[in-house]
């Protein structure tokens, strides 16, 4: 039963995050948001495999993040906000494993 009409679709995104720095850094799955439609809203993660925490220097982690989305949603993209970068990194879904989401 869905009396509110919240989105019932689910988008599971596998991500690889590489810390190329020579120091640990803070990583949070919440840095990923799902964009629904080119001009649509971004969406907070519904679930993730890990909590915010340190990512050791020169290490890579593979994890996943899950979002709610409309059942019929098209043109989805995952955005990653790196506090050390000026731009938001955007990856169209379907190509999310094509490249690492590095910071």
């Amino acid at each position: 039963m869905n009396p509110h009409g919240v989105w019932t679709g689910s988008v599971l995104v596998g991500v690889e995050v590489h810390n190329g720095l020579d120091r640990p850094m803070l990583f949070s799955p919440g840095q990923f948001r799902l964009r629904v439609g080119a001009d649509g809203p971004t969406v907070t993660a519904y679930d993730a495999a890990r909590a915010p925490g340190g990512l050791p220097a020169r290490s890579t982690l593979t994890t996943w993040v899950r979002f709610r989305a409309p059942e019929d949603a098209e043109d989805l993209a995952v955005e990653f906000t790196d506090p050390d970068a000026t731009d938001v990194l955007s990856l169209r879904l379907g190509r999310a494993t094509d490249t690492g989401v590095a910071s």
Binding site: H4, W7, P52, L55
Partner: protein, 829 residues
């Protein structure tokens, strides 16, 4: 907006030297600065060697996860030096206690030798044989937990702070009011790499803010803030020597976070808070939001900290606001729990308690008076110890209130007597954009529950994320009304949606309630009942889930209409309650007054969409207080008023963008901008209450008729702030000058009384009566300031006949800028 005047700043900042800055008779502050040598910024990466009795604070920076997991750059007074790149930056301190004997101890609980309550909840001394389901409390027994950022200083202790600036710009630490009201004790500006010491004697018991006032409020909002509690060393279970006694105390820090300011600060940009005002996107209580603050996350460490530090909890007891130290003859007293509320943020918060009204005792370290003759109006706010269910908290303001932790006054006996488990009630800010995170995710902001402990404490569901919590509120089809009785009054409220035409010609999609005869209009039809009547309201929510929260009425949680503490309704449900009967002269009894009801589902949106209506409780008639023909009393022993001219005025504002949103906007985690309330249309709704409603879509007054000074019985005006920003009502005479003609008699459904006599056998008279027959009330005012969800009842006492004006002004909750003015003519015959 209230700001604390600063008569002067106490500053010792002579280069390199110590400057004694003596103020007052017993408090001495001393500041000492050490300039940084070239390149010294790097050297401060190492912690300074600890000095006994000195608290080192490091001005640090770093990234902090918000409740949605996003990372926001923040600054803070940390307990060790850390870099901005540190995955776990030190931006706050574990609570520290300066003891009168000279020691400095790190401790989350105080008094140090008292037993910390398990899960934060003080256990009872035993059951109260005279009151079913109630308990006797332990007097002066339990310690209290405090949140990070807390510094406690016993009176007579010497507070020694050493502040190290590890950032690239100048910073300082300042503490207003701690020495004397209006004075600020400060380190002075500390250059990058520099250190300053601040030493003073704690003398005035109270709640104080320490923060960096640089470019205020920018550095404070970035996180450079905390709280100093000065506590009486001879009586740690009172807020001051001879002050208000409590079972345990809580400290609530209200915080707002603007990630745009944070991003700009990290980039080294200068932020002009006037040119680019703050737009908070996150709202926190004790550094936690939403499901973290409510202790329903999967992180047991966060949950435990929130239970111990934030979620007020205790066993129901008899309390008496006349005398919180009234002995019960068995070693217990009649007090509740003290909550110190501090607004470190930038917006005005409106702290609303379900389940119990709270008793406000102090503001900014000064007691509110109890005597009617000492009551006064300050910038539109009545200053008197009083009941409230919504406590306004302006930026930098500190208020101390007593949560009585008593049986909810409007619960039915059968329901109460059958209680087997805890009652959970929400406490949330009613300036509802503060209930969001990342533009949605209701309830994801500044929220807490409080718990009336019961025989059992069932486990509640926990959630993996704020998004899961927001989108999975419990709902039921057509739940049963437990112990259903034959009602004295019953009402039907059907959901409807429709485009409605407003007085200015604008049309908006509105959602609201209708009954059998009201038609689809706004505000929703009034619920009006008498004290001691059993009332029913049947909700028919149509296709979606809704609730009815009887704001200010205090039944059991099932009838309180909040999803996460009971259920949302998809089929139908009949809410049942019985407003408590008033007793003349008793400040602890009675519920007559002004309220409203509203949907509590995705409240930030549904209330703005129009799902609200007025609720009025009339008093029982007591033989000692008969009522004249054509009149009622405002409360059981309150003033009579004229039924024919009684009126309700409701300032309301519309943000048209919100009226294009869907029922569940934001609940799936999408950012729909519900933290941005940008009203474009402003209205004064309501009107005269007697007789038929007006015929338009929206009920509003073109004018009000008010009884003049020669009339037998005066007019009663009720006001309700139904929007999210603060409003101000000013009475103007024919020349447009303010005129004192509104006598405040009640607030949030409770009368203003003189409670100065602690003897329960002595009646606590209403303020006007306590002043004597010929004296005017000190609460007669030309101006009233009231924020979201607050209600006031005013007897109108115009000085003459003629046309007067009720002027309403709306102010922005963060900037204080005037947004709109609307007027209602008052025709005095």
């Amino acid at each position: 907006m209230t700001t604390v005047p600063r008569r002067r700043t106490v500053l010792g900042a002579a280069a390199g030297g110590a400057v004694v800055v003596g103020v007052g008779s017993s408090a001495v502050g001393r500041a000492r600065q050490h300039a940084a040598a070239p390149g010294a910024l790097q050297d401060t990466a190492a912690a300074t060697a600890a000095t006994a009795g000195v608290l080192d604070l490091y001005v640090n920076e770093g990234m902090v996860p918000m409740v949605d997991g996003s990372l926001v750059y923040m600054r803070g007074f940390g307990e060790r030096p850390t870099e901005v790149t540190d995955p776990a930056p030190s931006l706050t301190i574990t609570p520290q206690v300066f003891l009168a004997d000279g020691r400095l101890e790190a401790s989350r609980s105080y008094p140090l030798d008292a037993e910390p309550p398990g899960d934060g909840r003080p256990g009872p001394a035993g059951t109260d044989a005279a009151h079913r389901g109630e308990y006797r409390i332990r007097r002066a027994y339990w310690a209290s937990f405090f949140p990070r950022r807390t510094i406690i200083a016993e009176t007579g202790s010497t507070v020694r702070l050493r502040v190290h600036n590890r950032l690239k710009g100048p910073h300082q630490l300042a503490i207003p009011d701690v020495l004397e009201p209006g004075e600020t004790l400060t380190t002075g500006e500390i250059q990058p790499g520099g250190t300053a010491e601040l030493t003073f004697t704690a003398a005035r018991a109270g709640t104080y803010v320490y923060s960096d006032p640089t470019n205020a409020p920018v550095e404070r909002l970035l996180g450079l803030s905390g709280v100093l509690l000065v506590v009486p060393d001879d009586d740690p279970w009172r807020n001051a020597s001879g002050g208000t006694e409590f079972e345990r105390q809580w400290l609530w820090l209200c915080q707002d976070v603007d990630p745009v300011w944070s991003r700009r600060a990290r980039a080294g940009e200068a932020i002009d808070p006037r040119a680019t005002p703050a737009l908070p996107r996150y709202f926190m209580l004790n550094d936690r939001s939403g499901f973290h603050s409510l202790a329903v996350s999967m992180n047991e460490e966060i949950n435990r900290a929130s239970e111990e530090e934030t979620l007020a909890s205790g066993y129901p007891r008899q309390s008496d606001v006349r005398n919180f130290s009234l002995p019960d003859g068995q070693g217990s007293v009649s007090t509740g729990q003290l909550i110190r509320m501090v607004n470190l943020g930038v917006v005005i918060h409106q702290m609303h308690f379900h389940g119990n009204h709270v008793w406000t005792v102090r503001k900014n370290a000064a007691d509110h008076p109890r005597r009617a003759a000492e009551a006064r109006i300050e910038r539109g706010h009545p200053i008197l110890q009083q009941w409230e269910d919504v406590v306004e908290l302006d930026p930098m303001e500190r208020k101390e209130i007593v949560l009585p932790v008593k049986r909810p006054p409007d619960v039915l006996d059968d329901v109460w007597n059958a209680r087997t488990e805890d009652y959970h009630y929400p406490m949330h800010c009613h300036a509802e954009p503060s209930q969001t995170a990342a533009g949605g995710l209701y309830p994801g902001g500044l929220v807490a529950d409080w718990v009336l402990a019961g025989p059992t404490s069932p486990k509640h569901p926990h959630f993996v994320s704020q998004a899961e919590f927001a989108s999975n509120q419990p709902h039921e089809g057509s739940p049963t009304t437990e112990f259903r009785k034959r009602p004295d009054r019953s009402f039907l409220r059907n959901f409807y949606n429709r485009r409605l035409r407003f007085p200015d010609g604008a049309e908006f999609e509105m959602w609201s309630f209708e009954d059998e005869t009201s038609g689809r209009r706004f505000p929703a039809p009034m619920i009006r009942i008498n004290e001691d009547q059993i009332a029913h309201v049947r909700l028919e929510p149509s296709k979606r889930a809704h609730t009815i929260h009887l704001h200010g009425q205090e039944p059991d949680p099932r009838n309180d209409g909040v999803g996460h503490t009971s259920f949302e309704v998809t089929g139908s449900y009949t809410y049942q309650w019985r407003p408590q009967k008033g007793v003349p002269g008793d400040p602890n009894k009675g519920s007559a007054g002004s309220y409203f009801y509203h949907c509590h589902v995705n409240t930030v949106l549904h209330v703005q969409m129009g799902m609200l209506g007025p609720l009025i409780v009339d008093p029982v008639v007591h033989p000692a207080y008969p009522v004249s023909a054509g009149a009622r009393r405002a409360f059981v022993d309150g003033p009579e008023y004229d039924i024919a001219t009684e009126a309700l005025l409701v300032p309301f504002a519309v943000d048209p963008r919100w009226h294009e949103l869907s029922h569940a906007a934001g609940l799936s985690g999408e950012d729909v901008g519900l933290n941005r309330f940008e009203p474009k249309n402003f209205y004064v709704l309501g009107g005269v209450l007697a007789g038929p409603r007006s015929v338009g879509d929206v009920q509003y007054p073109k004018q009000l008729v008010v009884n003049g000074p020669g009339a037998r019985i005066p007019t009663l005006l009720r006001v309700l702030n139904a929007n999210y920003f603060p409003t101000q009502l000013t009475f103007l005479d024919q020349a447009g000058q303010p005129v004192r003609m509104g006598e405040l008699v009640a607030h949030d459904g409770r009368p203003f009384r003189d409670t100065s006599n602690p003897d329960p056998a002595v009646p606590c008279l209403p303020v006007h009566d306590a002043m004597g027959v010929d004296a005017s009330s000190p609460l007669l005012t030309d101006m009233l300031a009231f924020g979201a969800a607050e209600r006031y009842d005013l007897i109108l006492r115009p000085p003459s006949s003629g046309t007067f004006t009720a002027r309403f002004q709306w102010f922005h909750w963060a900037t204080g800028r005037e947004l709109a003015v609307r007027t209602v003519p008052l025709i005095v015959g």
